[in-house]
Every structure is written in structure tokens, then in C-alpha cells.
């Protein structure tokens, strides 16, 4: 008798609110220390990328001059158009002052008096063959690497989802044609194709994003197609169709959310891959055009000298390595988090 009462009271305990799908994924993800560390690294890189002008540059962040306040990093001023900030700062009258970024060198500023100097006081990461500050170039390169990684993957995700959805949803002849497209893309030596396109077009940052994105969608498209082929047989999809929902509504509102988690995992790995490809392109001289800073570009300069300029190898190499590892580890942690078979380890 007693035991029954206990049983009843257990049944009536309030059910805790479900954290939802993404909530559960996040709880699982947080358990992975390595992936969480990697996520923090990515956040740090984002902060560096967004605020790179405030971290490294030869313009003052804040300048009080002739009784007026200026923010030269943020805005352009007519009266400061041809001003050399170094001279200006040295000859500033009393009560006027300038606040500089912690690293006082811009990424494109030449200093031919200190070419290829190893890391030391003013240039913490040394200088390259034109006397540009390596640390400043690395900081500004973060923005380029991350934006290429994200935009390229964004393009790949859009193409991949579009093709995967129509192939998996309609099947039949549509699927056949899209599958041929997959096969064409998979069979291409992709890096060779990217190189060819960039050699025949301007290697601008936008072209690089487009080319990497337009050649990198196969993995995502295959994933989405597979998921859609599977989901198409579910009765909830049939019910939605039977209720008269238009095709695009069934695809986007009912099916896509169920196929989205693996796409996100694949995109995380994709960002790592795109950053690697960009650095390889810059290394070969097909990357971001010269004055722009890029990690691969800094690295390629070390190749031209007989003397081993180790700082031109170590720092950009470490930056590429850290970023790519971080994205891969987050992708790995995320993949484990969405896999229900691995829950409750």
C-alpha cells in the first residue's frame, strides 16, 4: 500500500521544462571542455577581427588638437587629411593629447630602415621584407581570414541547401540532374579549379569568397539531400502536404529545421577548410591582392630569403593553425552534441 502511494507522488511531480532541441545540444556541447576552449578562441579571434583598427594602426584612436576632439580611426577629417600623425604627436601643444592603439603600426606602413628585423621592442613580431610590422599585419589579417571563411561558407551553405533540398524533395529526374552536378563538382580537382579561376580573374577578396563558396557546396548538398530523402517518408511531411501547404513551405518550415543541425556542423568544418584554402592561395600569390594583409601572404614572404626569417614562418603558421584547429574542434564537439547516440556518456 505504502509503495503505491510513493509511486503516485512521483508521478505527480512537476515535469521540468524541456530545454528544447538547441538547448539540449548546448548542454551537451558545454560538457566538452576542449570544444568550449576552442569556442572561446574563436570568440577572441572575432573580437580581434572586429576591433583590429583599434588594436593596431598608426592613427590615434582619440586626438585632442586645437581644442577639438577627433576620432581618426573611426572618421575621416578634412583638416587631418594630409597630417603625419607621428610629427603631430611629437609637436602637440600642452593640453592636447593623442591616444594610440597598443600597436602603433599600420598593416600597410612601410619602414625601409628596419627591413626584416627579428622580433624586438618596437616590432614585437618583427618586420617583413618592406619593414611592415608583422604583428599589425597578423591582426588585420584576422579580419580577412575570418570574413573569407564565413562568407565563403555562407555561399556554399546557400547553394548546398538549395540543391540538396530540391534533389531530396522532388527526387526522380530532378535528383538525377542534381546528382550529376554533385558528381561534376566532386570529380573536379577543386584546388586546381580555384587556382584557374583566380588566375583568369582578378584575385580580389570578393572573388576568392565567391570561388571558394561556389566550389565548396557538395558536402552540404549531399547532407541535405540525404536528410530530405529520409524525411520525405515521414508522415508529418505527408500530413503537411495533404493539408495543402505549398512545397516551399513544407521544405523550409517543416523539413529544413530537422536537417539543419548537420548542416551547421559541416559549415563549421567548412570555415576551417576555407581559411586553409585562402592561406594556400595567398601563399602561392593568388590570394588577397598585395597591400592587404593576409596570413598566407606573410608566410609566403619568408620563402624569398635564404636566411631563415623564422618570425615570418612561426607567427602566421601559428595563427592559421590555431584558427583552423579551433573551428575543427568546435565542429567536432558540435557533431558529438547533436548525436543522440552519444548522449549520457
Amino acid at each position: 500500500m505504502n509503495t503505491q502511494v510513493v509511486g503516485v507522488s512521483q508521478v505527480y511531480q512537476p515535469i521540468p521544462k524541456s530545454p528544447g532541441y538547441w538547448g539540449t545540444v548546448w548542454i551537451e556541447f558545454k560538457k566538452d571542455k576542449l570544444a568550449m576552449t576552442a569556442l572561446c578562441v574563436i570568440l577572441f579571434l572575432f573580437i580581434v577581427a572586429i576591433f583590429s583598427d583599434f588594436i593596431a594602426g598608426n592613427k590615434p584612436i582619440f586626438l585632442k588638437w586645437n581644442g577639438k576632439m577627433y576620432f581618426p580611426v573611426l572618421f575621416e577629417y578634412k583638416e587631418l587629411f594630409n597630417v603625419d600623425f607621428k610629427e603631430l604627436t611629437e609637436s602637440l601643444p600642452k593640453d592636447n593629447f593623442a591616444v594610440y592603439p597598443p600597436i602603433r603600426y599600420s598593416d600597410t606602413e612601410y619602414d625601409l630602415l628596419s627591413v626584416l628585423s627579428p622580433p624586438s621592442r618596437p616590432h614585437l613580431f618583427g618586420t617583413d621584407d618592406r619593414g611592415r610590422d608583422v604583428l599589425s599585419r597578423m591582426i588585420h589579417g584576422t579580419r580577412i581570414s575570418l570574413s573569407i571563411g564565413f562568407v565563403a561558407v555562407g555561399i556554399a551553405v546557400v547553394i548546398g541547401i538549395f540543391l540538396g533540398v530540391i534533389a531530396g524533395y522532388y527526387g526522380g529526374i530532378t535528383d538525377f540532374i542534381v546528382s550529376r552536378l554533385f558528381e561534376i563538382m566532386i570529380t573536379f580537382p577543386v584546388f586546381f579549379l580555384i587556382l584557374t579561376i583566380l588566375a583568369f580573374r582578378d584575385p580580389s577578396i570578393y572573388n576568392i569568397m565567391i570561388v571558394i563558396g561556389a566550389t565548396g557546396w557538395t558536402g552540404i548538398a549531399r547532407l541535405v539531400r540525404g536528410e530530405f530523402l529520409r524525411l520525405r517518408k515521414y508522415s508529418y511531411v505527408e500530413a503537411a502536404i495533404a493539408l495543402g501547404s505549398p512545397d516551399f513551405r513544407v521544405m523550409l518550415k517543416h523539413m529544413l529545421p530537422n536537417a539543419f543541425a548537420p548542416v551547421l556542423v559541416a559549415s563549421t568544418f567548412g570555415v576551417a577548410g576555407a581559411i586553409l584554402v585562402e592561406s594556400a592561395l595567398s601563399f602561392l600569390g593568388f590570394g588577397v591582392p598585395p597591400p592587404e594583409p593576409s596570413w598566407g601572404d606573410v608566410l609566403s614572404q619568408s620563402q624569398r630569403y635564404v636566411d631563415f626569417a623564422w618570425w615570418l614562418v612561426l607567427f602566421p603558421g601559428a595563427a592559421i593553425f590555431t584558427t583552423v584547429t579551433a573551428f575543427n574542434l568546435v565542429g567536432e564537439g558540435f557533431r558529438d552534441a547533436i548525436d543522440p547516440r552519444l548522449r549520457g556518456r
Binding site: 576542449l34 546528382s179 550529376r180 552536378l181 558528381e183 561534376i184 566532386i186 570529380t187 573536379f188 580537382p189 577543386v190 584546388f191 586546381f192 579549379l193 587556382l195 584557374t196 579561376i197 588566375a199 583568369f200 580573374r201 576551417a272 586553409l276 592561406s279 594556400a280 601563399f283 602561392l284 598566407g296 608566410l299 619568408s302 620563402q303 631563415f308 614562418v313 603558421g317 592559421i320 593553425f321 583552423v324 584547429t325 575543427n328 574542434l329 567536432e332 556518456r345
Partner: protein
């Protein structure tokens, strides 16, 4: 190919023949698509090989070149016709396996490729073999010790390797082992020492292996992560199945269960995945072959892109795509033949 009926294949029915014919037929649209994309990418680009070729011609100034010469040169290379006609002409040539002549030195393109292909293939085959030899045991070990510190350490280490750009490692290896800063252990240029062509076979082989050590390292380490993870996953999948439980239940030793029962099944997907590594071979070779000055397809392709050698670029894209398609087909066939659970109907 299938005329002789004396040797009855394992699949006696028509399955295999229809499947094979279907797949071979499907190669045609894919190849067409690849040539179409490549053709239009390079031919619609601004600038053309004529201006590039004339610029390098014995110090002739650009102004000195009359329109006539440009038109004549264009005609010589067939560049005076509209693009779709050029593509049609190119296709007709390809149908007779004529890939044309290189713009650079007027040698037949196919001959240039035939010279370079063996180098790239041998380097990549060695690299793929190494990848398999290393990553299968690693994958098995991590699967068996799943979730342990050792499994995690292996995973992290391989991921770290995977994240190192190959060109970066190539430079570091050159600096440290190629006589740059520290040891002068390995050569960093070419595939044979000067004069080594006349060495006796074994000595020549050793010389070759010595030369390709660094490039092969650079081509190999990145794929380790992918394949060993794949092996790990595939073995874990098999270890969950019923017949493994049965094998354990009847009291087999753990090594017997893993190596005799599980591993054999887990090896099937990893062996057949080799085809997906193929297209990456040419791409990966571009950068490594350029750094180590290896006369392979990758370097040839890079030079072709730089000098806008249309026929050569087209031929490299077409031939490497064809090789990859054949590779995929063979691996799919092998998959069906090795694994009796999969039928030809089941595959597409």
C-alpha cells in the same frame, strides 16, 4: 570487355553488366559538364594567350605588334571563332583523343601529361598507402579504447596535424632538414639527383625515395585524421551489431572478436573510400609539387595556369576528372563485390 563467358564472374546474373554499362554511360554527362565549366571559365576570361605570348616574344614592344600579327596568331590558335564553336571543335578533337598542342612549346599536350603523370601517381600512391598503414591501426586503437584518455589524445593529435597547412610544414621541413638552417639530410629539389638517370635500378629507386621523402610527408599527414576517424567510426558501428555480441557471448577472446569478426567488416568502407581521396591528389599536388619542384601533374598544371596554356589546362582537368570517375566506379564496384549485403540495385 565482357565477351568471354568462360570465366563466370561471381555475379552470374545481368546485374553487374547493366550496372556497369549504366555507370559508364553516366560518365559522359559528367565529363561533358567538367569540360564545359573549365572551357568557359578559361575562355571567357579577360585577356588571352595571344597577347601574353606576343609580349614575351624576343623583346618586341607591344606597340610594334600590328593588328595583322594579332589576327594571324589568333587564327593559328583558332581563337578567332566564337566560343561555342571553339568548344565544339575542341569536343570533336577530344572524341579522337586529340588534346591538341601546348601553346607554350607546341608539343602534343598528351605527351607532356604522359611524362608527368607517373611521378604524381607514384608519389600519391605511396602517400595513400602510408595513410592507410598508419591510420587503420590508429583508428582501431581509438575505437577499442573509446572515450579513454588515449583515444582523446590520438583524436586531438590528429586534428592538430590536420590543421597544419601543408605548405607551412613543407617550408619548415625545408628549413630544418633540407640544409637551410640545421641538418642537410634531404634534398629539396626534384625527384632524382643530377646524373641519377643512369644509376642501376636499385640505387635509382633509393635516390628517388630519398628525394620524395619530404613531399610525401607533406601529402600524407593531413589525411591521417580523416581516415583514422573514419576507421574508428566504422569499427564502432560494427562493434554495436548483434553478431559481435554473439561472438563475445560464445566466449571468444577480445582480440579474436575485434580482429577476426569486427575488423574485417569495418575495413570494407575504409578500403572503398580511397576513390574520394583521388581528386584531392591533383589539387594537393599543385602546392607541394611547386614547393619541392617536382615535375608532376600539379606543377605542370600550375605552370599551365600561369601561362594560360588553354589546351594544357583543359587536358589536365579532363584527364584527372576521368581518372577520378574511373576510381569512383572501381571503388563502388569493389564495395558491392566485397560486401554481399549490398546489391547492384541498391546502389542508385
Amino acid at each position: 570487355m565482357f565477351r568471354d563467358s568462360n570465366h563466370e564472374p561471381r555475379f552470374t546474373n545481368h546485374d553487374m553488366r547493366t550496372y556497369l554499362l549504366k555507370r559508364l554511360f553516366l560518365i559522359i554527362p559528367t565529363l561533358l559538364g567538367i569540360t564545359l565549366v573549365t572551357f568557359f571559365v578559361i575562355q571567357l576570361a579577360p585577356g588571352n594567350p595571344v597577347s601574353r605570348k606576343l609580349q614575351v616574344g624576343e623583346g618586341v614592344k607591344a606597340e610594334a605588334i600590328t593588328k595583322d600579327i594579332i589576327e594571324q596568331t589568333k587564327k593559328l590558335y583558332g581563337l578567332d571563332k566564337p566560343i561555342y564553336i571553339r568548344y565544339w571543335i575542341w569536343l570533336k578533337q577530344i572524341a579522337t583523343l586529340d588534346f591538341g598542342r601546348s601553346y607554350k612549346d607546341h608539343r602534343p599536350v598528351i605527351q607532356k601529361i604522359a611524362e608527368r603523370l607517373p611521378v604524381t601517381l607514384s608519389i600519391n600512391i605511396i602517400s595513400i598507402l602510408l595513410v592507410y598503414i598508419i591510420s587503420i591501426p590508429l583508428g582501431v586503437y581509438s575505437a577499442v579504447t573509446q572515450g579513454s584518455i588515449r583515444d582523446r589524445a590520438i583524436t586531438f593529435f590528429l586534428f592538430a596535424l590536420y590543421s597544419i597547412p601543408s605548405f607551412w610544414l613543407a617550408m619548415v621541413l625545408i628549413y630544418f632538414l633540407g640544409g637551410g638552417e640545421f641538418w642537410d639530410v634531404f634534398p629539396i629539389y626534384g625527384i632524382l639527383s643530377p646524373g641519377a638517370e643512369n644509376y642501376p635500378f636499385l640505387k635509382k629507386l633509393l635516390n628517388f625515395l630519398w628525394h620524395i621523402t619530404l613531399p610525401v610527408i607533406c601529402l600524407t599527414y593531413g589525411d591521417l585524421a580523416y581516415l583514422s576517424r573514419y576507421q574508428r567510426g566504422s569499427l564502432l558501428e560494427v562493434l554495436r551489431s548483434e553478431f559481435i555480441r554473439t561472438a563475445r557471448a560464445k566466449g571468444l577472446t577480445e582480440s579474436n572478436v575485434i580482429f577476426k569478426h569486427a575488423l574485417r567488416n569495418a575495413l570494407i568502407p575504409i578500403i572503398t573510400i580511397v576513390a574520394s581521396v583521388l581528386p584531392a591528389m591533383i589539387g594537393g599536388s599543385v602546392i607541394i609539387e611547386s614547393i619541392f619542384s617536382i615535375p608532376g601533374i600539379g606543377q605542370l598544371g600550375f605552370e599551365a595556369v600561369l601561362s594560360r596554356d588553354y589546351p594544357l589546362i583543359m587536358a589536365i582537368a579532363t584527364i584527372s576528372a576521368f581518372l577520378t570517375l574511373i576510381g569512383i566506379l572501381i571503388s563502388d564496384l569493389a564495395y558491392v563485390m566485397v560486401d554481399p549485403r549490398i546489391s547492384f540495385e541498391g546502389k542508385r
